[in-house]
Amino acid sequence: MTYGQIFLILLAMVLFSTIYLTTYNSLFDQADLAYKGMYLLNGQKIIDKYFQEIEANILGEIIVFDSLQSIYNGLSDSLTVSDVVYHVNISTTPCTRTGADTTTATPEFIRVDMSSWALRSDGDTLWIGMPESPISKVFVDLYY
């Protein structure tokens, strides 16, 4: 076998390895996207849990509507799903029916903003609703 032939074989191996590594890398990117989607879905369900809790407590008159602010504004909590800890931050703001801020002392509507973050096993922080663009829901005082 000549040096030329050996060189060609090595070149082929290098070229194939490059294609192989690139393809594998793309596949891991796809897997990462799939797992990120799963984390996002879990986070969304946790946020939905708190919205349900607030709605049920208002419907059942377990809490008075005006006390929404004192109970939930600035509240931080955490829940573990599939060994991943999701941290939830909640804030409340008096608002109009469209969700715009107001300064009314006894508001008819209160907007609840939530954001959640989780630290993934690879060390990345994944946000589900950011503090500056949270997941929001407007609650109305049924007895206003």
Binding site: M1, Q5, I9, A12, M13, F16, Y20, T23, Y24, L27, Q30, A31, A34, G37, M38, L41, N42, K45, D48, K49, Q52, E53, E55, A56, N57, L59, G60, I62, V81, S82
Partner: protein, 182 residues
């Protein structure tokens, strides 16, 4: 003689190289299929959970008493009515064992045919945890106000002979029974 040895050497090296390429291509294909299966499993299981949530929304609707009938770790039975005082229906959400695998099925009014399922679950299966209005676990049936439901779905991977593993997707939901708060 030297030419024969060279030909044999070239065949061996070429053979190893081709084998490596084929194995690599099969591995890439397997990883690709597994990722696709994982995405499909997430899609399907999220759809299933959406329907399960719809059934859970009915808990206690239109009934004045005995809304919650049975609360167990892997079985939840409750009732609802078409309208206030209307026809009462009983829903049974259960984990079953069919052909040595755990399955999720939802039955209505004792029908032997499930209205939803059966869907294959992992060895973990389903786990219901019940709460009262003050977040205490395992209250009396009449005091249950919400449930935490954990389900783990599974799917086969590309290889089903050697190194058999499953693709899994665990979902944890909470459902507040708003009809019971009214």
């Amino acid at each position: 003689m030297a030419a024969i040895l060279e030909a044999i050497g070239a065949t061996i090296i070429g053979g190893i190289f081709i084998l490596t390429m084929i194995t690599s291509i099969i591995n890439i294909h397997a990883v690709g299929v597994n990722i696709n299966q994982q995405i499909e499993l997430v899609e399907i299981s999220e759809d299933v959970v959406s329907v399960v949530e719809t059934y859970l929304s009915l808990v206690g609707a239109g009934v004045a008493d005995s809304a919650i009938i049975s609360t167990q770790d892997t079985l939840f039975t409750y009732s609802y009515a078409d309208s206030v005082g209307g026809t009462r229906h009983i829903v049974n959400m259960a984990q079953e064992k069919i052909n040595n695998s755990r399955q999720l099925a939802v039955y209505v009014d004792g029908s032997p045919t499930p209205v939803l399922g059966p869907f294959e679950l992992s060895d973990f299966g389903i786990q219901f945890t019940y709460y009262d209005a003050n977040d205490n676990t395992n209250p009396a049936d009449s005091l249950v106000r919400y449930v935490q439901m954990i389900l783990e779905f599974q799917y086969d991977t590309f290889r089903d002979d050697i190194d058999k593993r499953y693709i899994r997707h665990r979902i944890q939901i909470w459902k507040y029974f708003k009809n019971l708060y009214l």
